[in-house]
Subunit: 430 residues, 2 copies
């Protein structure tokens, strides 16, 4: 048997503690599968006294996480601190710089600095692994990097944030409004006290940026991701969408186009029959479409101590076997520069929700705008009548270029009978 892989873990929150628990409870299993023992040599966290329900008695403690990077005898550093910059980045840079492998669950770090860190790792001949950064326990990084490596990927998309999916699922099931469900999710611990990172789509965008680099072999470009969150989705939208045969999901979508790679995060109408439409509650799912494999789907828990630790330790085992795979499937110095495709060129169908005063001629005004922009309509819903009062009107368009839709919405917003700005949600053909 080979000598043990000595690891140091920085950060002992939920994921860090679960990682320690997993390694301690599955020692012989991990050794058999990794070809060598995985030994936790040192840990670091903010509070040494806190009871985490794990036994740290025989593990060295460092008050300063950064010291782990150069601590003698460490083969790999596991970064579970979090945050795109600050101590996490310092630790990862210093560890790679010192020739240690790094395993991290830090999506913000990889999304913002992944290309540079990958170059550093590959210069130093060590591994940088981040399976836990995308979709928690689902081994989607490995699937894209290795399992589907024979394919030219055409599109990759997914439900990448469990909090948003939980909120949208609950809104649909209960008919309640966003604010109400968010407050409940916060009370239950499914959403953070400061939920912006999740519900405004930033977390999904971090994960998408990573998937994009892996799938298309380009440098990570988080700034190229178009990001919309789910705050503006209403109970009415969800109900109308259901009636029209769709479910609303927050999707991250990356697609190869003639213009380059288009990356976007936004609420999307997805037909009931699409496999991803039935992914509910806190579950995540990713669909990868390759030219030979066609469509594949991966579903599981996208967060939580156990699933995330599963991914972290799988990475550690890959490191233990020294599997020779590049950080983003191809060597970092061969990644192509990002070439973002503008969203305005996207061609797709739209769901439009308008609140209009119920009076003669309203529909004529609206449809005239669509006619002028050469946007054809597939269906229209107007529920209830109350002359002179505001009523919701919902339209589904046929496929049109996004630029035309933006012009049409601007004109419709200016119509005198519109009592609130019109809202649109993109319909995705999956």
């Amino acid at each position: 048997m080979n000598p043990p892989l000595n690891i140091a873990i920085a950060g002992l929150g939920t994921v860090g503690a679960s990682t320690v628990r997993l390694i301690q409870s599955h020692g012989p299993l991990l050794a058999a599968r990794a070809g060598r023992e995985i030994s936790i040599a040192a840990v670091s966290a903010r509070d040494r006294e806190r009871d985490r329900g794990i036994d740290l008695a025989r593990i060295d403690w460092e008050d300063d996480a950064l010291a782990l990077a150069t601590r003698p005898g460490i083969d790999a550093v596991v970064e579970l601190i979090g945050g795109a910059d600050g101590p996490a980045k310092e630790l990862v840079e210093a560890s790679l710089g010192a020739g240690r492998h790094v395993v991290t669950a830090n999506k913000a770090l990889i999304a913002h600095h992944g290309t540079a860190l990958a170059k550093l790792a590959e210069d130093k001949g060590v591994s940088l692994r981040y399976e836990a950064a995308v979709a928690g326990g689902i081994p989607i990084v490995k699937a894209l990097r290795e399992g589907l490596a024979a394919n030219a990927v055409e599109r990759v998309y997914g439900i990448l944030n469990g909090t948003c999916n939980y909120i949208l699922t609950t809104m649909r099931e209960t008919g309640r409004e966003f604010d109400d469900v968010l407050a409940e999710a916060q009370a239950l611990g499914y959403a953070e006290a400061d939920p912006g990172f999740d519900i405004d789509g930033v977390d999904t965008a971090h994960k998408l940026a990573i998937l994009t680099a892996l799938a298309f072999g380009c440098e990570i470009d988080f700034d190229a991701v178009h990001i919309e969150g789910i705050r503006s989705v209403t109970a009415d939208d969800i109900r109308f969408a259901e009636e029209l045969g769709y479910r609303i999901k927050l999707l991250g979508i990356a697609q190869k186009t003639e213009d380059g790679i288009r990356q976007r995060v936004h609420p999307s109408l997805v037909a009931h029959g699409a496999p991803i439409a039935s992914v509910e509650d806190v579950f995540n799912a990713v669909v990868a479409e390759g030219d030979f494999v066609e469509t594949t789907l991966y579903e599981g828990r996208g967060a939580g101590g156990g699933p995330t630790a599963s991914a972290v330790v799988a990475d550690i085992m890959d490191v233990a076997r020294d599997d020779g795979v590049a950080t983003f499937a191809i060597p970092a110095d061969q990644l192509s520069p990002s070439r973002p495709a503008p969203l305005e060129h996207r061609v797709g169908a739209f769901y439009i929700c308008m609140t209009v005063r119920d009076e003669p001629g309203v529909m004529a005004d609206i449809t005239a705008v669509f006619r002028d922009e050469r946007i054809s309509l597939e269906s229209m819903l107007q529920r209830g009548r109350s002359p002179g009062e505001p009523v919701p009107v919902v339209l589904i368009t046929h496929e049109t270029e996004e630029a035309a839709m933006i012009r049409a919405l601007a004109r419709i917003a200016g119509l005198e009978t519109m009592t609130a700005p019109p809202r649109m949600i993109r319909i995705e053909t999956l």
Copy 2:
């Protein structure tokens, strides 16, 4: 850049031709991701003249596949001949024996001889890879072997045969009977002229036996798989199941129990809400449940040239990188002996379909049998009335031990009012 990986391909049917096409069309992509060029040095197939739509001009030809095993300059042999024994087995044994890596799509070979072949490969210090043998393009072998390697797997199950899933889906959608749909599937090329291998569950069992070894670290034991196919599933069964909230799927299920590992292939009633229930047509899906990752699902095309070639070439790329992973996740000489758990000990619910003469007292006789076996009933369906004539009666039981159900069915079969043998389908809680 490392020297090319020189491969030889034996068998140029649909999968072999697609594999050649993939490698020829994606040369630079594969080289970037594998770290070295993948070069097809030689091929062998039965008919040299046949037009396969691929360019073999610059590839050496061997009339005798077995010659590839010892042909100078070959690093890896790709076996796409098929069959558990005969030329495929000879070639794989000879290739491993000669110190060449082997990649195969041959589920029968691995299911029957996997343990011995893995030992041979590992003795010789080479890789034996078989991603394409299970669920086509879905990288489920890699997921179990590496992505979920940190978990103790508790259960793995799946829809592993596209032909059966297509037939069951079509029966449900059209209300037609099995024989009729099978004939159509044969006409469309979705089912073989000799369909037994698929519809009697043997193909599913091959794949399940492989998943079992991978998931639980035990020697492959195909003979321990309880196998039932789908020939006896009727249009009535499917309709009744739908009415009761279930879909019928042919599942392969392997589960760790106190008695050992239970492996079984049979039609199963699956609740509509289960993710695998919505996997339809020719699609395959596998669910793996680990103690840390919890439930994960993998879905995609389980057959066809493109998806299978995707898996074959992914294996070739792993071989090119020399990733150091054992054949069945742990070294073959550490696989535990098979310890099959008897099916009679399974505890679960059942769907029972009986055809009885519609007369007073029938239900009293039937329910008395269940009472005697301490089997409690959850629901009963009897559609239509025609006094004195045979009518179908459907029961759903609560959970009971399978042995009790077998005794009950034997007694019910003997009731004078029963006009045909009662049939049962297991209900799976997924």
